[in-house]
Amino acid sequence: MADFSLFSRRFDVKRVPGFASVALGVFVMLYMPVILLVVYSFNKGTNLAFWEGFSLRWYVQAYHNEAVQEAAFRSLYLALIAATLATTAATMAALATTRTKKFRGQMLIYTLINQPLMVPEIVTAVALLIFFAMIKVATGHTGMIYLIVAHTAFCIPFAYLPIRARLESMDLTLETAAADLYASPWMTFRRVTLPLMWPGIVAGLMLAFVVSLDDVVITEFVKSAGQETLPTFMLGQLRRVVTPEVNAISTVLMAVSVIFVAMFFVLTGRKN
């Protein structure tokens, strides 16, 4: 049993005393509140902590609430536009950083592209608030363009990372082979590079979409009057009367996020 002793000597964190209870505690802290939130979204009564029976009334009420409709619609279209723009920019950035010769300052470019991941969101939000305020005063324009620009900017790194990972795992000789078989650089891109990086692009798009959809801080600072998104609308609601309607909206928002993130993992986990 010499082999066995070899294996058993490897460090196994699962055997550390108390590991199980810590893990359990973490899972409870993570999921218990969410589970409660979902459960009470189906509560018949108005109380957030007292179960009165099953009902879909809060979903129906949220569905008919014009403010919710408006905010939901704005959230979706903002996320769609911002994610599309961010993914386009990220695709180009990923191609430029993986498909060219190593160049001076490449590390700096990576850092700059990923900057939104490092600067605290509140700092970005305040900076954008001040910056856009100056533009708003100068131009008098207060449209959705500010939110679209802000969301696009902070979504780029989320779209960039999966696309770049995909490109890096791709065999460069495939593009060489296409050129060898008489494909022009453009046809090589269209017939080989693009189809192969496509799962990465879709994954990047989904991640960017969810990140934009869920954003509160930057949106709260950048939005003009009457530009509530679903998350900022909910934040506003919480300051007034809290009913399980917020639970219902949260549950739907979470369901959408979970679906998109799950698809993201399916796309990035699959090989080809």
């Binding site: 000789t173 495939l174 060489t176 050129a179 060898d180 078989l181 008489y182 046809m187």
Partner: protein
């Protein structure tokens, strides 16, 4: 078909510069099976990439069918490559891969379909036409890579160690298969390998390379029987190198005196030799051993070690001069175990078995 004129390739610049190829001159004939043979890192892949157009020469030029192609990009050269790792497109079927080159050349649909079917027959892969490339074995991927590269009917097919990833049995099969494909298609093959046996059995001509230079170009026989220098002799087959003194050069023969004793008149295969110290090659299978007769002209030695190999036996000798020598003798039952380590023996050989090297 291909003329490579004085090509040098340097990667990088300044202190990081690597000279991958130096003064390469090769003419490859139409319909030839031409092999680049050399150890890993000697520049074989670089030379192939230059022909394909993936790299550009630092100096020198290259002609294909009389036309200077040095500056053409790869997609404009009538040359196709079978890559070492096959590089099949994973998002296309077997047929899609084979059709790719033809589609890029803008051939009509009917012609593409017809050629794909013909290629599939050529490499015996008809049944796997619609498979994904991830669903076929390594040997089958190899055939698809070949079919894909042959489909556009290139003037030259480049193959970079195409058989190195296959196991021995499959490799032997594919060696025969490649020869068949080459004679059936009439396309010039430039084949890269570091396996001397593969090079000897498959090639019309071989270029032996080392450290960015071509040491010798010739038929397998020429390369094996008359290697020009020590590197070529050593790289191909087993070799004994002995020191000797050359003198009395007359026309195509000369007198040779071994450091280990014995004088012999040898035929010369080259004109560039002069009197003096030389290095001499003797293949272990071109000699035999016998009881010494006491003649002072004999090359004698003591058996140090005997290794039995079934079909033959290797006798490791130490010659009177102190030089090591190996004789490989075929086994036959009557000679069984006649000799033992410590025996004193004479080495017998024909003068034709002696090759004088340039260095």
């Amino acid at each position: 078909m291909i003329e490579i004129r004085n090509i040098t390739k340097v990667f990088g610049a300044g202190e990081h510069a690597v000279t991958a190829l130096q003064e390469i001159n090769v003419n490859i004939a139409e319909n030839e099976f031409f092999t680049l043979l050399g150890p890993s890192g000697c520049g074989k892949t670089t030379l192939l990439r230059l022909i394909a157009g993936f790299e550009h020469p630092s100096t020198g030029s290259m002609l294909l069918a009389g036309e200077d192609i040095s500056l053409l990009p790869p997609n404009k050269r009538p040359v196709n490559t079978v890559f070492q790792n096959y590089a099949l497109f994973p998002h296309m079927t077997v047929a899609g891969n084979i059709a790719f080159g033809l589609e890029m050349l803008g051939r009509p649909k009917a012609e593409v379909a017809e050629t794909v079917d013909r290629m599939l027959r050529l490499v015996r892969m008809e049944e796997l036409k619609n498979r994904q490339t991830s669903e076929i074995s390594g040997g089958q991927q190899q055939r698809v890579a070949l079919a894909r590269a042959l489909a556009p009917q290139p003037k030259v097919l480049l193959l970079d160690e195409p058989l190195s990833a296959l196991d021995l049995k499959l490799r032997k099969e594919m060696q025969i298969e490649l020869k068949r494909l080459q004679s059936e298609t009439g396309i010039t093959f430039v084949f890269v390998t570091h396996d001397q046996e593969e090079a000897l059995t498959m090639s019309d001509r071989i270029a032996v390379m080392n450290a960015g230079r071509i040491h010798q170009i010739g038929s397998p026989r020429q390369i094996y029987d008359h290697p020009e220098n020590r590197f070529v002799a050593n790289f191909i087959g087993d070799s004994n190198f002995l020191n000797a003194k050359l003198g009395n050069i007359k026309d195509d023969q000369a007198e040779l005196e071994f450091a280990a004793g014995r004088k012999v008149t040898v035929p010369l295969h080259r004109a560039d030799l002069s009197d003096g110290e030389v290095s001499v090659l003797i293949r272990p299978e071109h000699v035999s051993i016998a009881e010494p007769t006491g003649n002072s002209h004999e090359l004698t030695g003591v058996i140090e070690n005997i290794v039995y190999f079934g079909t033959d036996t290797h006798y490791h000798l130490k010659l009177a001069s102190g030089e090591a020598f190996m004789a490989r003798l075929q086994n036959n039952p009557s000679e069984a175990e006649k000799r033992a380590a410590g025996d004193k023996v004479a080495v017998l050989m024909d003068a034709k078995a002696i090759q004088i090297l340039r260095d």
